[in-house]
């Protein structure tokens, strides 16, 4: 142990901050693995890892000079998360979660949870603000498909650059304060609610859309870029008919803030979610909508691809919405079939260099299987068909192995 510390000190003196972060992650993993099992009110260690391969069928592309790499992040991707939760007592706990993915190491959680009563709970620090149903299980070991639904896509969709990802890429992590709670009316009806104030999504002053890379990057520091907190919340109602092994959940979410440093460009996101479980059959559906204010600039006619509207003015708003419907069918004790239908739409002007149109649309059909091989390991295989109205259609296959740590 002492030798390990000496080595660590020597490395930290000479290495870059990235190497230091790698070392910190390795130390957390080593300590966690050596930790004694959780006993009573103690530490909880949890984690997951998924390694996946995305294959884009290039034969569909008539222009052979454009490789799949230019349209998607094909190839191998690994997503790792490790989480440490400490329960001081039944009212106070802390949670830290470190993630590794396409863009290196990120802090997914670092917050204190204070529960006064079930109906009043505070979360302060860095966390996933309550929005929608899918973010509750965004961890790849928790959902049955290899990738995320299009409204929550964070870089696995085809034409990700042209579309600028989904409506609200998951996980959305931010710094702030959330107040929420849950209340049961009898034993069948659960009401959940949460409201928060966080730093918000980011972009630049001359932007026409949120910059999701900037939003989670530490290069502009993990602070609010315009001193204007973003507010939001979620309310959901759950009907639990345990005798019939049936559960229904209906939720609504909203978020509003400014994304540019001058705090002049607004964004508003609204969502609705639905979940149904009848015995072992599950159905999930969500709809998200984001209205983003754009900076028209000094000369919109040269900046944007399309001219003014019928009123002679350029519309300063762009609308992006998305949906998914996903059904889960257990067919064998260790095997489940997944069917998903999702899509994205974008309405509004685009920059002159954009390949999107004024009304862009993509629909995706996914059929997949999820097989449990034991030891908390799952093998997932999905086939996806993209139907674009601005580009040629795409056929994609993804294979992933996910494990619970």
């Amino acid at each position: 142990m002492r030798r390990s510390l000496n080595i660590a000190r020597a490395v930290l003196r000479h290495a870059s901050w990235r190497a230091a972060l790698v070392l910190a992650l390795m130390s957390v993993v080593v300590v966690a693995l050596q930790s004694r099992p959780a006993v009573g009110q103690d530490r909880n260690f949890a984690g997951s890892v998924q390694s996946s391969y995305l294959y884009v069928y290039d034969q569909q592309n008539e222009d052979q000079d454009e490789k799949a790499r230019q349209r998607a992040f094909d190839g191998f991707t690994t997503e790792l998360s490790v989480k440490l939760a400490v329960d001081f007592d039944k009212h106070i706990s802390t949670n830290v979660k470190l993630c590794f993915g396409c863009h290196g190491f990120e802090i997914d959680m670092a917050y204190v949870d204070l529960t006064v009563v079930d109906e009043l709970r505070f979360r302060a620090g860095r966390f996933n603000p309550s929005f929608g149903e899918f973010p509750l299980r965004h961890d790849p070991a928790n959902h049955r498909t290899v990738d995320k639904p299009l409204p929550y896509d964070m870089g696995r969709m085809v034409r990700l650059r042209e579309w600028n990802l989904g409506v609200l890429p998951a996980p959305y992590v931010d710094n702030g304060l959330e107040i929420g709670g849950t209340h049961w009316f009898g034993y069948s009806f659960q009401l959940d609610y949460a409201a928060y104030a966080v730093g918000g999504l980011r972009g630049d002053n001359a932007g026409t859309d949120v910059d999701f890379k900037l939003s989670r990057s530490g290069e502009s520091y993990y602070v609010d870029n315009n001193s204007r907190p973003t507010g939001g919340g979620r309310v959901s109602m759950t009907l639990d008919l345990s005798e019939a092994e049936t559960t229904f959940t209906l939720g609504g979410s909203g978020m509003y803030g400014m994304y540019d440093p001058a705090a002049k460009l607004s964004y508003m996101i609204a969502g609705a979610d639905f979940y149904a479980r009848v015995k072992r059959f599950e159905l999930r559906a969500e709809y998200l909508l984001r209205r983003t204010e754009m900076n028209l600039g000094e000369d919109p006619s040269s900046r944007f691809k399309f001219g003014p509207g019928r009123n002679g003015k350029f519309d300063r708003y762009a609308l992006k919405d998305g949906f998914y419907v996903e059904a889960l069918f257990p067919v064998l004790p260790r095997m489940e079939l997944v069917g998903r239908f999702d899509g994205l739409r974008r309405f509004g002007n685009v920059l002159s260099a954009s390949e999107l149109s004024k009304n862009s649309q993509v629909l995706r059909y996914t059929v997949g299987t999820d097989i449990s091989v034991g030891f908390g390991v799952r093998v997932k295989f999905d086939v996806e068909y993209y139907d674009f109205n601005d580009f040629h259609d795409e056929l994609v296959g993804t294979l992933g192995v996910a494990a619970v740590l």
């Binding site: 099992p37 959780a38 006993v39 009573g40 009110q41 103690d42 909880n44 949890a46 989480k83 329960d87 039944k90 706990s93 529960t115 009563v117 079930d118 709970r121 309550s130 509750l136 070991a141 928790n142 929420g180 709670g181 849950t182 209340h183 049961w184 034993y187 659960q190 959940d192 979620r234 959901s236 759950t238 345990s242 092994e245 559960t247 939720g251 479980r277 015995k279 072992r280 059959f281 419907v325 059904a327 069918f329 257990p330 067919v331 064998l332 004790p333 079939l337 069917g339 239908f341 629909l363 059909y365 449990s372 034991g374 030891f375 908390g376 799952r378 139907d387 259609d393 619970v404 740590l405």
Partner: protein, 184 residues
């Protein structure tokens, strides 16, 4: 658009219901093989069913079953936290039911005797006394919500008589052997 979306989606859903009804319409304990059901005492089968139904909505059962928990009191805080997750559908009525199974699983499952069908030890498994209803955190902030201490079962136990034959579970063997970390 190359496919009739409404018909395709409807067919998908109908197929799902058909497959679910044919292969998995029964309770989770009969066809969701995450644990060797034969090792669960008959008097805890409903508790297991409640655990399987409630604790697989957001993640797989392996998160809980693979957790290296040695003190059943740990589950009290853990399940209380899961109850506060939005849409968990784990009611105060279900909480003690789930905890009864988890307490037994922590103390008794690994010590249950033999493979399914094998003759077991002479000691009978003694189920715990009927636990009191656990108050929700808001109902009794000062109370510790936990079931009565479970009696540790015998080193091995006689498999409960079960007219329904359940197939041997490779997953169950995996679960007893794993030492992976616990769920979130």
């Amino acid at each position: 658009m190359t496919i009739d979306l409404a018909r395709a989606l409807s067919a998908l859903i109908v197929l799902g219901f058909t497959l679910s009804g044919g292969c998995g319409g029964a309770k989770p304990s009969e066809s969701t093989v995450y644990i060797d059901v034969q090792k669960i005492p008959l008097e805890l089968r409903d508790e297991y069913a409640s655990f399987a139904q409630n604790c697989s909505k957001c993640h797989g059962l392996s998160r809980a079953l693979n957790a290296p928990v040695t003190d059943p009191k740990h589950w009290d805080l853990y399940v209380a936290r899961m109850m506060r997750t939005a849409g968990s559908a784990i009611s105060p009525k279900e909480q003690p039911v789930i905890l009864r199974f988890l307490h037994w699983y922590t103390l008794g499952y690994d010590k249950a005797g033999g493979m399914p069908g094998e003759a077991s030890a002479t000691d009978e498994y003694t189920p715990p006394a009927e636990p009191e209803a656990f108050p929700a955190l808001s109902a009794e902030p000062g109370a510790v919500a936990s079931p009565p201490a479970m009696q540790e079962p015998a080193q091995s136990q006689k498999p409960a008589a079960d007219p329904v034959t359940h197939p041997a579970s490779e997953e169950a063997q995996d679960v007893t052997q794993t030492t992976a970390g616990e769920g979130q």
